[in-house]
């Protein structure tokens, strides 16, 4: 068995010259520093994780982790990488905290700091070593080594006892213990990192107490000459110096793992997924949520100080621009008229800005903030709507008496020219929306919408007229053309769709009747406030609103009706989404959260920029032009501009990440071309659709997540699917997901089989419905508020597992058997036609948590097998309950207690919880059931289902069994049957075992074949599939996942 692909914690990153070394599991990934392409993958420390990578003399590279280290010689010559193992793996008898290569008198030594505060000095030449202890013996979580002078090595030890110890090893001195020179006290928690920067003469420590602390070293003797000459820097006499705590910095909201100092800039990373950039004088320059909520374990900066690399618990490695002055100071435009206030602002394609003030004067400024002139627009001096065109070369004004004027920037750096002024409406114009470069929709009183286009000659053609359906506030907030439809949002929050193709184009300015009927209305799509913006993204439409949500729609062309279907929605990290920008490969969603303006990348799923502008409800504009994003806004009666180069936001991905917390389920759903597509869910409460390609690049599979769907309010314990339709180009699946807070969700996922390259737009996900056992929070909260002494007695149940059963007599009905943590099996009915889910039966099965459930059928009988934390497998006859549900689907839910006559048989399988199982039918009505328990027991039984001849009663008999308690040293959390007679099992002990079974003459026996250690911790399960080469692949998941091939 060998590992083919791994995605888990990235614990080490090191940049050396033009190579980037990344340690994930036992594998060292070597990337090219220019192209970020993977050059090579070497298995270094199996079965231990790489915790550190350090460079040494003569192109040496040492990799360490656990109590193991090994050294390579690595050359990059003319683009060719050569790697040779310099020494075989060395095993020490203690945990390695840190290591450093040190040269004395031309000899190379490797200093290794161990977890009990001792240093092991390894002489590479003679291959002998000696060990030196610090007089203070304690356990270290962190430390670093400084080669101070010809003979001295300084050790910084970060202890469990909140202290940093500084001690010295003198090479000439042959004692075995060394005294502590300095103790740095101040932290209130375990020290997780301590580094020393000789240039800044600062020690930086990070801790459990959420702080980053800088400690200044200064010379005792000469108080006034703190600045030591540069040449003498390394000869600091550490006995003589004075160390004082200089700064305590708060910025992280969880434990701070590591820090780096470069170019007078300190970068810290932590468990909260934040990468904080600080100036050494104590200013937080920037804060990036770098790994989507997953802890960041490792960080390094390229040798030219231009790029930062981070590695996280999501398995990702990202590259970030190293920018010192990340936050741009907003620039104040000179006040043109001291006593008038700016009302509207916008950016033009040329880079010039327009400012329209309350008196009706339009100013134009160039990008150096110099005024280029002004226009007085008398018509618009009291009331005005101003909208810049999509191409940003025109701006449209609309008046209270129904006029519109369009001004165009004809000559750059000159005043605008009016190209049109015409009365369009008989009433006040409430809103103007640009649909295309020369097409607008104008909204007048009583919901009249006029779609007009502007010809080259400056003529206005009224293309069609629509009427917004009646609502409390009947005017337009957003509009877009999508697949020949006009999609509009009104102020009351409704979305209306008009089919424009039906309309006969009418001329003349006064059309009161319209044949353009609204063909579809979606009520209050983003709450009671109007839709803010529409985005057309390939074949999908997205609406954005002031509930911070993006909602996706698609035109359903299949059934020959032009109707929009609602797909899923996506929560943005903002309260108010106001717009978007499109770049060549990304969509930036723009909006506000509290006092900040936010730019969010849809491709990277992250906030790119936050500008404290004071919040929404102001005139602002944001433009992407020439690799710059310009944000223009009014604050406190003044206009500010911020420019951000797009390069600030580029964060190339070296390795793609996955779930930010434990994965509870992975289900392969389809194989398209060379790609295996799977769906997954976990503790981070997201559902993901991802694929892995069998095409290898430098023996690494390509893996990417196509889409992330939220909607679960707690962890997802299971995902199961049902294939509704599969043909060559189109696959349709019904997905059921559920877990914490007793929530179950139904999705439909369509995957279009497009060529070889899969894109996220090839997937459409319909968020069909959600069911919560105790209702949604909103209604519960009210109850709570009514009386302070009211307790809801019902337990907070969790759903643990599901089994889907499609009724053979009535295919539209799908029954879901859900195993619950309160000992119930709950039966839901999902109707494919009405797309409704309803809870039909509660069946109390046991007073324990049911962890697993499966369904067997025998003739017309439906038998449910539950497995629970008491180690018992219970076979329960659900035939009657189900037939009642199918016959009377309208009936209310029923509760079944003590239905002891339903119980067929109990098998005592384990001492405690059953954590995993797989079942296989070997002959008609004969099954093999393999279970893995909390008690380390690997159990296989063979049983038979039959009617007892006399009274037609169901009977299940145990034919044979086999078990082993030595297969694993901890809980067994995954078991799977594979082709032929192969079984795999995996446990929390990170061991994957492969066995084959034999069942002959009624006797079951199992032979152990082979094993491998996995680097996935907190293992939650096993799954398998066939890749495009037809190889059988086993996938272990938990904290990350690993793909193994036997």
């Amino acid at each position: 068995m060998f590992s083919k692909f791994l995605c888990t914690d990235v614990l080490a990153i090191r940049c050396v010259d033009n190579l980037i070394f990344v340690g994930m599991g036992c594998v060292l990934y070597i990337f090219n520093g220019n192209t970020y392409k993977l050059e090579e993958k070497i298995n270094c420390l199996y079965p231990y994780n790489i915790h550190g990578i350090i460079e040494g003399p003569d192109n040496k590279l040492t990799v360490f982790g656990g109590n193991l280290f090994c050294t390579y010689k690595i050359h990059l010559k003319q683009g060719r990488l050569t790697i040779e193992e310099n020494s075989s793996k060395k095993r020490l008898n203690d945990w390695i905290v840190s290591a450093k290569w040190v040269v004395f008198d031309g000899y190379n030594y490797l200093y290794v700091l161990l977890a009990h505060n001792n240093v092991y000095i390894y002489d590479i030449f003679s291959e002998c070593y000696r060990s030196i202890w610090c007089e203070e013996k304690c356990i270290l979580y962190a430390g670093s080594i400084l080669h101070n002078s010809d003979e001295d090595v300084i050790i910084f030890s970060g202890t469990v006892y909140q202290e940093i110890l500084i001690w010295q090893i003198n090479y000439a001195h042959h004692g075995n213990t060394s005294p502590v020179l300095h103790r740095l006290q101040g932290h209130n928690g375990v020290i997780f990192s301590v580094i020393y920067d000789p240039l800044a003469q600062l020690i930086c420590s990070t801790s459990d107490d959420r702080t980053v602390r800088l400690w200044k070293i200064s010379n005792n003797k000469s108080e006034d000459s703190d600045h030591i000459l540069e040449g003498k820097l390394e000869k600091t006499n550490w006995r003589e110096i004075n160390i004082r705590l200089m700064r305590t910095m708060f910025g992280h909201t969880a434990r701070v793992w590591k820090s780096v100092i470069r170019n007078e800039i300190l970068i810290t990373v932590g468990e909260d997924s934040l990468m904080c950039t600080w100036s050494l004088d104590g200013k937080l320059l920037n804060k990036v949520c770098a790994h989507h909520g997953a802890a960041i374990w490792s960080i390094d900066v390229s040798d030219d100080n231009k790029i930062i690399f981070t590695g996280g618990a999501d398995g990702a490695v990202h590259a970030w621009p190293f920018v010192n002055d990340y936050i741009q100071k907003a620039i104040l435009l000179p006040k043109a008229h001291i006593h008038t206030l700016p009302k509207y602002v916008c950016c033009l394609r040329s880079g010039n800005f327009l400012i329209f003030n309350e008196n009706g004067t339009l100013f134009i400024f160039n990008n150096c903030y110099r005024s280029l002139g002004s226009l007085y627009l008398e018509k618009y001096n009291t009331y005005c709507v101003m909208e810049v065109s999509l191409c940003r070369s025109c701006v449209c004004f609309a008046s209270r008496d129904g006029y519109i004027s369009i001004y165009k920037e004809v000559v750059p750096n000159k005043e605008l020219q009016q190209i049109i002024e015409e009365k369009i409406m008989d009433s006040q114009i409430f809103s103007v929306q640009w649909l295309e470069n020369n097409k607008l929709v104008i909204c007048g009183i009583n919901g009249i919408l006029k779609i007009i286009s502007v010809t080259e000659e400056g003529l206005i053609i009224i293309e069609s007229v629509c009427l917004l359906p009646y609502s409390r506030e009947r005017w337009l907030t957003a509009a877009a053309l999508y697949e020949g439809l006009l999609v509009c949002g009104d102020r009351a929050g409704n979305m209306h769709v008009f089919d424009l193709q039906k309309s006969v184009s009418c001329n003349g300015a006064n059309i009161s009747e319209t044949n353009n009927k609204c063909i579809q209305t979606f009520v209050k799509v983003h709450g009671k406030i109007g839709i803010q913006s529409f985005i057309v993204l390939n074949s999908k439409l997205i609406s954005a609103g002031r509930d911070g949500m993006l909602k996706f729609y698609e035109l359903n062309k299949r059934e020959n009706t032009k109707l929009l279907c609602t797909l899923h929605k996506q929560k943005m990290p903002m309260d108010w989404i106001s717009g978007y920008l499109k770049s060549s490969d990304d969509i930036f969603v723009l909006g506000f959260k509290e006092v900040e303006f936010i730019i969010y990348s849809m491709f990277h799923y992250r906030i790119l920029m936050r500008v404290p502008c004071g919040g929404g409800h102001r005139s602002w504009d944001c433009m992407l032009q020439n690799e710059f994003i310009t944000f223009l806004y009014i604050r406190n009666k003044q206009v500010y501009v911020s420019d951000f180069p797009l390069s600030f936001f580029t964060s190339p991905v070296l390795l793609n990440g996955f779930h930010t917390k434990e994965i509870y389920c992975i289900n392969p759903i389809s194989k398209i071309g060379q790609n295996n597509i799977f769906i997954s869910g976990g503790e981070d409460s997201t559902v993901r659709i991802s694929y892995i390609s069998s095409k290898t690049m430098n023996s690494n599979f390509f893996f990417r997540t196509l889409n992330i769907f939220d909607g679960h309010i707690s962890s997802i314990k299971f995902i199961t699917y049902l294939s509704l339709q599969t043909d060559h180009s189109y696959n349709k699946y019904l997905i059921f997901s559920g877990g914490g807070r007793a929530q179950i969700k139904v999705w439909e996922i369509d995957i279009i089989d497009s060529e070889i390259y899969l894109q996220n737009t090839d997937i459409s996900c319909y968020d069909i419905t959600s069911h919560m056992l105790y209702g949604v929070d909103r209604s519960r909260k009210k109850q709570w508020q009514e009386s302070n002494h009211f307790y809801n007695m019902d337990p907070e149940s969790r759903y643990m597992d599901i089994e889907v059963y499609r009724c053979p007599t009535n295919l539209q009905y799908i029954l879901l058997f859900v195993a619950c943590a309160d000992g119930f099996v709950r039966v839901f009915l999902y109707d494919i036609n009405t797309r409704n889910i309803s809870l039909k039966a509660h069946v109390k099965c046991v007073d324990r948590c049911i962890t697993k459930i499966t369904v067997l059928t025998y003739n017309e009988k439906v038998i449910v097998l539950t497995m629970s934390t008491d180690g018992i497998g219970r076979f329960i006859d659900f035939t009657d309950i189900i037939s009642k549900i199918i016959i009377f689907p309208q009936n209310e839910e029923q509760e079944f207690h003590n239905y002891k006559n339903l119980f067929i048989v109990n098998f005592n399988l384990h001492q405690s919880g059953i954590n995993s199982y797989d079942i296989k039918m070997i002959e008609k009505n004969e099954y093999l059931l393999a279970t893995g328990g909390d008690d380390n027991l690997f159990n296989i039984i063979c049983f038979k289902v039959q009617f007892q001849s006399t009274n037609k009663e169901l009977h299940i008999s145990l034919l044979s069994k086999w078990n082993s308690c030595t297969a694993h040293a901890a809980q067994i959390t995954g078991i799977i049957f594979r082709e032929k007679n192969i079984i795999f099992s995996v446990g929390v002990d990170q061991r994957v075992n492969m066995y084959c079974y034999d069942y002959t003459n009624g006797i079951l026996s199992v032979t152990f074949l082979k094993k491998i250690s996995t680097f996935v911790t907190d293992v939650k399960g096993l799954t398998s599939w066939y890749n495009s080469k037809g190889e059988s692949v086993v996938c272990v998941y938990g904290r990350g996942f690993e793909i193994l091939i036997s």
Partner: protein, 368 residues
């Protein structure tokens, strides 16, 4: 989430509060005792890494019961319990407390002096490190803690005595079993039903302390050296096999099951925790978050304490408050200068509206 949600999620948490235990872990020791009878006949016991003290509470109750029973039949000496922890712990009746390090020989001497230079019948240790999430490291630190506990135990436990300690059942656990087997002929791995099914935590019960002949306890090296181990050796046929025992029969509730608040027909009343938890290392950070001016999650707040000018966090807070006041003042005066100022005020109003609207999505709860 209401204050009852934790009560619902975990029946042992609820029961611990009802029965007056300082932590739910008390049930773990009780259940281990029910199965393995570790407290029978014990008169002198040591609780290592005792804080917050729930195991000491159990020892105190049970050993006094033993004593009373013994008194009925004849002479008996009152029990003695010594609790050791690095942290200070709220006092407990009948428990002698030592604030000390278990890797220090003086701690061992102190313990024995409390027993009138006799050795203990039982040593228990429920200590665990703060888990970092780096599994291999957490397991290593836990194993070091267990070995340190074992090491001090070799100084203070009598021949034939019992040792119970927390262990992480994970990769390489067999190595630990092997080391325990050197000192105890009977080693079991037990899991009380009050310990969650999903948890890697388990407890080793080691009986009949019999150190190898000629073994002299020492403190020089606080750990029993990790011999370089061959991975295959540990997983092959010759590896140490330690029986796994589940403690707590089916009459005991299950920690993974959600029970209604009125479970077993008892009327539910809310109980406050017996003891408020000890201040976490990040207490200071928490207090900063409470105040808007020092809430460093906000983009417009920078919390850096300049220690060289001997500034304290309290000073910083005061300063931040002052600064905030000044800013608000200047903004007010600005807006008074110019009429028709609505942009910022409206935006604030709007925020209020939105916090109300979005209360729910922000309360996304992932704990269940």
């Amino acid at each position: 989430m209401g204050k009852t949600s934790k009560d619902k999620r975990d029946i042992y948490y609820r029961r611990a509060k009802e029965e007056g235990w300082r932590a739910r872990s008390a049930f773990k020791l009780l259940q281990i005792d029910n199965e393995c009878h570790i407290l029978n006949g014990v008169n002198k016991a040591v609780d290592l890494c005792a804080a917050p003290g729930s195991w000491s509470q159990v020892l105190s109750r049970r050993l006094n019961e033993n004593y009373k029973k013994a008194l009925e039949t004849g002479n008996a000496t009152p029990p003695k319990i010594v609790a050791v922890d690095l942290q200070a712990m709220a006092p407990l009746e009948g428990v002698i407390q030592i604030q000390g390090d278990i890797t220090n020989i003086n701690t061992a001497k102190q313990i024995i002096s409390h027993f009138d230079n006799e050795q203990a019948d039982l040593v228990v240790c429920d200590g665990a490190p703060d888990v970092t999430g780096l599994h291999d490291m957490d397991i290593y630190i836990q194993s070091q803690l267990l070995l340190a506990a074992l090491n001090i135990t070799t100084h203070i436990l009598r021949q034939g005595g019992t040792f119970v300690a927390k262990i992480f059942r994970a990769k390489d656990v067999t190595l630990l079993y092997a080391q325990l087997k050197i000192f105890f002929p009977y080693v079991y791995c037990t899991k009380p039903s009050s310990s969650r099914n999903s948890s890697i935590e388990a407890f080793v019960v080691c009986k009949d302390y019999s150190p190898p002949e000629g073994y002299k306890p020492h403190m020089l090296n606080p750990l029993l050296t990790h011999k370089p181990c061959d991975f295959d050796e540990l997983t092959g046929i010759n590896r140490v096999i330690v029986p796994f025992v589940v403690c707590g029969d089916l009459s005991q509730p299950d920690s993974d099951t959600c029970y209604p608040l009125n479970f077993e027909g008892k009327e539910y009343t809310y109980h406050e925790p017996v003891q408020t938890p000890i201040a976490p290392p990040y207490q200071e950070a928490l207090t900063l978050l409470e105040n808007r001016d020092t809430d460093f999650r906000r983009s417009d707040v920078n919390v850096v304490v300049d220690n060289l000018s001997s500034m304290t966090i309290a000073d910083f807070k005061k300063q931040a408050k002052q600064k905030h006041k000044e800013i608000t003042k200047s903004e007010i005066s600005k807006s008074q200068n110019s009429k028709n100022d609505d942009s910022d005020d409206v935006s604030e109003l709007d925020q209020l509206m939105f916090t109300e609207l979005f209360d729910e999505s922000d309360n996304k709860d992932k704990t269940t």
